[in-house]
Symmetry: C2
């Protein structure tokens, strides 16, 4: 941003009478301190806002001037429009009454780290372009691997293991799937022969990633699960399917095991899956996006048993580990298997350090080239709160979920659909009374969700398992306390009473 005199034509009609300094230190301080106060006020008051807004599609264009602004405006104008028009249309993930999906937990340390990353704005495609960012990311991943008790082969301190912080679990699945795919292609040739496996409870992201990677849809297996295994993948069923496929000339290439499925937090048996995959030399990826965070506590670590036999594992601190979006950690046993597929060597990114082979450039472990300094916020969280506080955080959420589960179990109108593993309680209104069918119970449960969400006092989402409509009560929004869980339960009880009373009337 220079101060060269511009030709007349260049400043035609512009408020360009003065030099434009987008990073003017006074502006930086003033805008950012205002933004800090806004977010602190927001977090203090978010409890009073409707969790789900009552706006209709298109609402914002009615509120904001739809014409693009030509001239500049004081920063306060944007802040006012944000307060008056944007905030009222937000679904408040930060609300303590948010029980939908999985919580997007957060912390003061993470936000601070992310702010600093935004301001420094490094682009860490190569080690040279961001040595500190590259190394801090690697160190932080090792620290988190240590906390999860991942075996040394997943750590960068024991090459060729290591990891990378990606934006989403989908990206973690994509890069590992592509690595597995290319290795299988190398062995066998013929994309159309590759087959991949997951349970029917695996996140939809997996099936989309298979499409992205060009896996033939006819060879993407969603192994059926059932209540008998609490909707976890049955390793025997997996083996049968893989044998059948191999017998038909297909090449079993990749298995995605989930620790904590989205619908019900089912935990696939990683060890048994690895046994089966080993027969076929298939890649095993463990998706522990949400529940991986719990495994930092010794009492939950058994859910990751046998992870040392997987090829890769991903978990997302932006879900349950107090780190704002985007932050998905991927660890692989052999980073060369990623870089074999993902490496590029354009001349304009070559440099002596890369050529020396002493470093791994992050661009070669991800989809894109540019790489935000995501490691900073995660390091800030890990450095500031330490293992003990992070464990306390997980345990506290699980204790609240347990409390909620006990309330549900004690009320005969409800059933808990699957055993609770972490901080998600899956329940529904059950069939009770002679004239009620399962379909009626589905309908009543759906009606309950609709009524609850329309109050603005809570936000609860649903799933369907075993053909039944199920409410997912996900505890753990960062500002949540027992009183919010108890308050939600009281509202659920009362509303259910109204619905069932209405049915009887």
């Amino acid at each position: 941003m220079g101060s060269l005199p511009l030709p007349e034509s260049a400043i035609n009609g512009a408020d360009a009478d003065d030099v434009f300094r987008p990073l003017d230190p006074d502006d930086v301080r003033s805008y950012l301190h205002k933004a800090v106060d806004l977010v602190a006020d927001y977090l203090q008051s978010v409890e009073s806002l409707p969790v789900l807004p009552s706006v209709e599609p298109g609402y914002l264009r009615h509120l904001l001037n739809p014409s693009p602004p030509t001239s500049s405006a004081p920063f306060d104008v944007a802040m006012k429009e944000l307060r008056d028009s944007v905030l009222p249309g937000m679904t408040h993930w930060a609300s303590p009454d948010f029980f939908a999906f999985f919580p997007a937990t957060n912390s003061a340390a993470a936000i601070a780290g992310d702010l600093i990353a935004s301001a420094m704005n490094t682009v860490g495609f190569t080690w040279q372009s961001a040595p500190a960012a590259t190394e801090l990311e690697s160190l932080t991943l090792d620290w988190l691997a240590h906390l999860l008790r991942l075996p040394p082969p997943f750590m960068s301190s024991s090459s060729p293991g290591g990891g990378v912080i990606l934006g989403t679990t989908s990206e973690a699945m994509l890069v590992t799937l592509v690595a597995a795919r290319d290795a299988a292609l190398h062995r066998t040739g013929g994309m159309s022969r590759l087959a991949v496996y997951a349970s029917d409870q695996t996140h939809s992201a997996f099936f989309k990633v298979c499409r992205l990677a060009g896996i033939d849809a006819a060879n993407v297996r969603a192994i059926p699960t059932s209540a008998g295994t609490s909707y976890a993948l049955d390793a025997m069923a997996l083996r049968c399917r893989m044998e059948e496929d191999a017998g038909a000339g297909l090449v079993p290439t990749y298995v995605c095991a989930t620790v904590g499925t989205t619908s019900t937090n089912a935990v696939d048996p990683v060890g048994a899956i690895a046994d089966v995959a080993a027969i076929f030399n298939a890649w095993v990826h463990v998706d522990a996006a949400y529940a991986g965070a719990a495994c930092i506590c010794p009492e939950f670590r058994h859910h990751l048993a046998a992870v040392e036999r997987a090829d890769s594992i991903s978990m997302s601190p932006h879900k349950w580990l107090l780190t704002c979006l985007d932050c998905t950690c991927l660890w692989v046993r052999d980073t060369r298997r990623l870089t074999d597929s993902l490496e590029t060597k354009p001349e304009y990114l070559r440099n002596d350090v890369t050529d020396s082979g002493d470093v791994t450039d992050i661009k070669d472990m991800q989809v894109g080239v540019g790489h935000r300094f995501r490691g900073l916020k995660l390091w800030m969280v890990r450095r500031t709160y330490g293992a003990a506080k992070l464990q306390q955080h997980v345990r506290s959420d699980v204790a609240m979920a347990k409390m909620f589960e006990e309330s549900v179990r004690a009320d005969e109108r409800f059933e808990v659909v699957v055993p609770r593993n972490f901080a998600l309680v899956c329940f529904r209104i059950r069939v009770w009374g002679d004239d009620m069918t399962e379909e009626d119970a589905d309908e009543a449960s759906r009606e309950l969700m609709g009524r609850l969400n329309r109050t603005g006092k809570v936000f609860i989402a649903h799933t369907v398992v075993g053909g039944r409509f199920v409410l997912r009560f996900a505890v753990g929004s960062t500002l949540q306390e027992e009183r919010h869980v108890r308050g939600a339960w009281e509202l659920i009880r009362k509303t259910t009473g109204e619905i069932l009373h209405g049915r009887q009337a």
Copy 2:
């Protein structure tokens, strides 16, 4: 985060005597105000820091305690370690003496918007999960499309057009390539028959994305370019190659045209390319990652001529439009072509608004599911600075680049390798004197880059075009003023003198 009494075992050894509140309002205010002061101080002093640090791979583990922290630490500890250990190992993209790659420009408004997004931490996979974020992103993309004079079909205000903010250009290429691929597969069957096209100057990201999408490497065409077209794609050469491929039974599927290549800012002729692609019904994507920003000025808009005939276009405000990472805008003429390939409908994300068909859920236009509130920072930039200031910003950078180019041209020891289109000057030490070969000139230019970068006073990167080593001098780091450009030129002159004098001696 609850305050339930935890069992003794749960707090074993932990500093868990008090409730842990990761978003305690006092902490939020205090941590964030400290972070703001750090970044403001950083931006004020970054000019005094070596642009490229002199650290060696592995340096950070020597400085930081490599053992993962067990207990919590005051926030100031992390801030101190950041200052003492991380900062000295940074490559300072914010430095006004940064001339490498393309600048990652930034602004007070963008950082503020990104901070608010981090704190609110919405996850906008569906409209329901983030109505305001979804709509603000859409409005902001329309505003930017308006500024770029993209035709109405690319705007969400004229369905089915519209856009999405992604993390990287690679992701924009991947989702459009997959959409084009799937449409071609639908018509023709047989992945192995699909062929895709770009010039040999197209960013390495394109070739990687082809790999990700499973395009047969044998069918990925990098059409050779030459100095004759200033390294722009020759539409006749493209047509010949496509005809040859079609004659051999292949299906030309996708062409990537670049407006502003990374090496030299070459501009591919979008109109002529669209003519050729139309013969084969191939998708045309325009990658204007860097130079798209310039096209907000009428005098540069001709570089996007005929964009109305492309199927999609992407540009990255995180490069030259004052918006910190990650921020790549993708516009498509028909969002249904994206969603046909990318849509997922898991039960746990279904809701009435989605089912109504009145909204497009962002998850169906991107690789992943989660979606950070990226629109906020871009809206903040657009709202606060307005069209005029943004145009002034581009023009100022171009004027400085022009000044530098004139200096280079006036010095007989150098040659400008290609005509300058935007704010990138590509130059090298030229052959002069009888005993100097082109290889000597390459070596001298390389030596010049190395010496310059080792001073810490500037950071300049290179490329190779036409087989020759070329220095890329990219003007536009946000804090840059004429004195930095002049200072860099003085250093280049002086250092070149030393190198050439050394040769003669």
